[in-house]
């Protein structure tokens, strides 16, 4: 798994409601924890064929206190978890040519998505990237659900040296892409949006803003999104996202002062 931990969680019936792009929110640190906020994790895959009913897979990068605590949990421990949350990826009603682009652990939800798209008759190409090989998440069995898989690392430690975005303009120009599904760092998502701008390609991106509540009540997780009349709304990425239309996100305004509606 490189730098990532794979968590299998028994959630029972809940798996039936989980769609690719949904996420979960987990309490961390135990009963007397000083970490008062939940941590959000994309649902990587679900299965309802587990020994005890439905199970859910998360891919966790041990980063700070919360994720490290989670990765240190032992088999059999119980977790306080709210699932599923958020707006999932939109699934086309007719077969399309889908390009799935993932950065770092952002590829986690893409394999479940790939399975669904394949079952709808879509062609599914995948490009994954990270700074280095240890940060690539690409499970062997995942490759079965895609038509092609290309890997990029910035240091060239595996796959091609470069960025996931290097190939995309060419693929679009060749008419090989109808929809891009992306998940990864904000810089990657905005770069893809720039590439798709002016093309017919739809860009569904799963964003990652810091979330205090995950259920829509705190307004910390907002992104500037353009309305039809060109004015800006701040939409909550926890309920109006995490999957958003990349063409509507006002990437140049993220984290900028002095916005007006």
């Amino acid at each position: 798994m490189g730098q990532y931990h794979q968590l299998l969680i028994n959630v029972g019936e809940v798996v039936r409601h989980c769609k690719p792009g949904n996420f979960v929110a987990i309490s961390v640190g135990g009963e007397n924890s000083s970490l008062i906020l939940r941590r959000a994790f994309a649902i990587s895959r679900v299965s309802d064929r587990g020994e005890y009913g439905g199970t859910m897979e998360l891919i966790v990068a041990p980063h700070g206190s919360g994720s490290r605590w989670l990765c240190a949990q032992e088999v059999g421990n119980s977790l306080d978890i709210i699932a599923p949350l958020g707006t999932p990826f939109g699934i086309p009603t007719a077969p399309v040519q889908a390009l799935l682009v993932g950065g770092g652990y952002g590829s986690a939800p893409l394999f479940g998505l790939a399975e669904v798209l394949k079952s709808r008759g879509c062609r599914v190409d995948m490009i994954l990237g990270a700074s280095t090989v240890a940060k690539i998440y690409a499970p062997i069995e995942g490759k079965r659900s895609v038509n092609s898989l290309k890997i990029f690392t910035e240091d060239g430690s595996t796959g091609q040296m470069g960025k996931v975005t290097d190939l995309i303009p060419g693929l679009i120009a060749d008419g090989q892409v109808d929809v891009i599904y992306s998940c990864g760092p904000m810089g990657m998502l905005s770069a893809i949006s720039r590439i798709t701008q002016g093309t017919d390609v739809v860009h569904q991106c799963a964003v990652e803003e810091a979330m205090a509540c995950g259920v829509g009540i705190c307004m910390t997780c907002v992104l500037p999104v353009r309305k039809e009349d060109g004015t800006i709304s701040m939409l909550r990425s926890c309920i109006d996202g995490p999957v958003m239309d990349g063409a509507l996100v006002a990437w140049e305004l993220v984290g900028k002062n002095g916005m007006t509606p």
């Binding site: 008062i36 906020l37 009540i217 705190c218 997780c221 992104l223 709304s233 993220v254 984290g255 002062n257």
Partner: protein, 318 residues
């Protein structure tokens, strides 16, 4: 569980509530989202996010930073503006039988008056919470709650407009040298009740970027970390103004915490940040509080309000 002899209701000025636990402004959005987790009519009231005159996009992200047993937020009063709010949010809450306390925030004294006027004839509102203490608005120099003169002017303006139609709850900031003095000033100006406390001004520096972490640089500190400051503020203000009802808040996470605030002098308790970690926190706090009050032998919320101020028992031995 609730016995017929136990009175769980409370009042803030002329407003009556069947139970003493409320949401906190800005920690329940407009109520709708929490209704997936418990029926809104089962709690005391929904206090809505402070609404301003115009639509507002608020502060840039990041808008939050977790801190030990607390968090900073710098939302900057993002909201739809009073018109959209009254057209959409209040009717929905009223339809769902929620008691509604509308929190208002203005950039000028006049704006508070204008906001109050809009509320006068709206059906289904129980009270107005006047947020004069938000530390996130752009002109930090003008935090109304930190300046006795402006605090008074705002309350005057709201009071004149509402003229007794709705109880006025004025929400104070803990970031002042003497909160009891400010409390007295706003009560003299016509506040029917006080909400204590808003967030404390804080900052986290991101040690990776070596810049302030929040888009708004400073943010408001909330959560269990600030509870001792909130209890102190409630205790001091209740001691100074024992007849003025207080809506207590700041770090309440359990029934015990709500009970502590009632003992200190609160007539009701708002649950804010705790809902982020546990979306059922408000109803859980309310249920635990009820059990606790009954187990301590109180027959009503009223009996417990300010109970910690009673004279200490004399020395048991000589």
């Amino acid at each position: 569980m609730r016995e017929s002899t136990f009175d769980f209701s409370t009042t803030l000025g002329s407003a009556w509530f069947p139970a003493p636990v409320f949401t906190a402004s800005g920690c329940a959005s407009s109520g709708r989202e929490l209704s997936q987790f418990f029926p809104l009519d089962s709690i005391g009231a929904v206090v809505t996010k402070s609404v301003m005159l115009k639509e507002r996009l608020g502060r840039p992200t990041p808008r939050m930073a977790e801190t030990p047993s607390g968090m900073l937020n710098s939302i900057g009063l993002q909201g739809p503006g009073i018109d959209a709010f009254l057209a959409k949010d209040v009717p929905w809450l009223v339809e769902n039988n929620a008691r509604v306390i509308v929190s208002i925030a203005g950039e000028t004294v006049d704006e508070y008056g204008v906001l109050a006027r809009r509320l006068r004839s709206v059906p289904g509102i129980s009270a107005v919470e006047v947020n004069i203490s938000c530390p996130n608005v752009d002109n930090r120099g003008l935090v109304f709650a930190c300046d006795p003169e402006s605090a008074k002017a705002v309350v005057d303006s709201v009071r004149r407009t509402l003229a007794g139609d709705l109880p006025i709850i004025v929400k104070l900031s803990p970031d002042v040298t003497n909160i009891a003095a400010i409390a007295k000033i706003v009560v003299d100006a016509g506040a029917d009740a006080l909400a204590l406390i808003n967030t404390l001004l804080g900052m986290v520096i991101n040690t990776e970027t070596m810049f302030p972490h929040l888009g708004g640089k400073t943010g408001g500190l909330s959560g269990p970390a600030i509870r001792p400051v909130a209890v102190r503020a409630i205790y001091q203000v209740h001691e100074a103004l024992p007849t003025v009802p207080i809506l207590g808040m700041g770090g309440v996470r359990t029934g015990r915490d709500a009970f502590e605030m009632i003992l200190a002098g609160a007539s009701g308790v708002s649950v804010g940040t705790a809902s982020f970690g546990n979306p059922s926190a408000v109803i859980q706090v309310q249920n635990e509080l009820e059990t606790l009050l009954m187990s301590k032998g109180f027959n009503s919320v009223r009996e417990a309000i300010g109970f910690a101020h009673r004279p200490a028992p004399g020395p048991s031995s000589t």
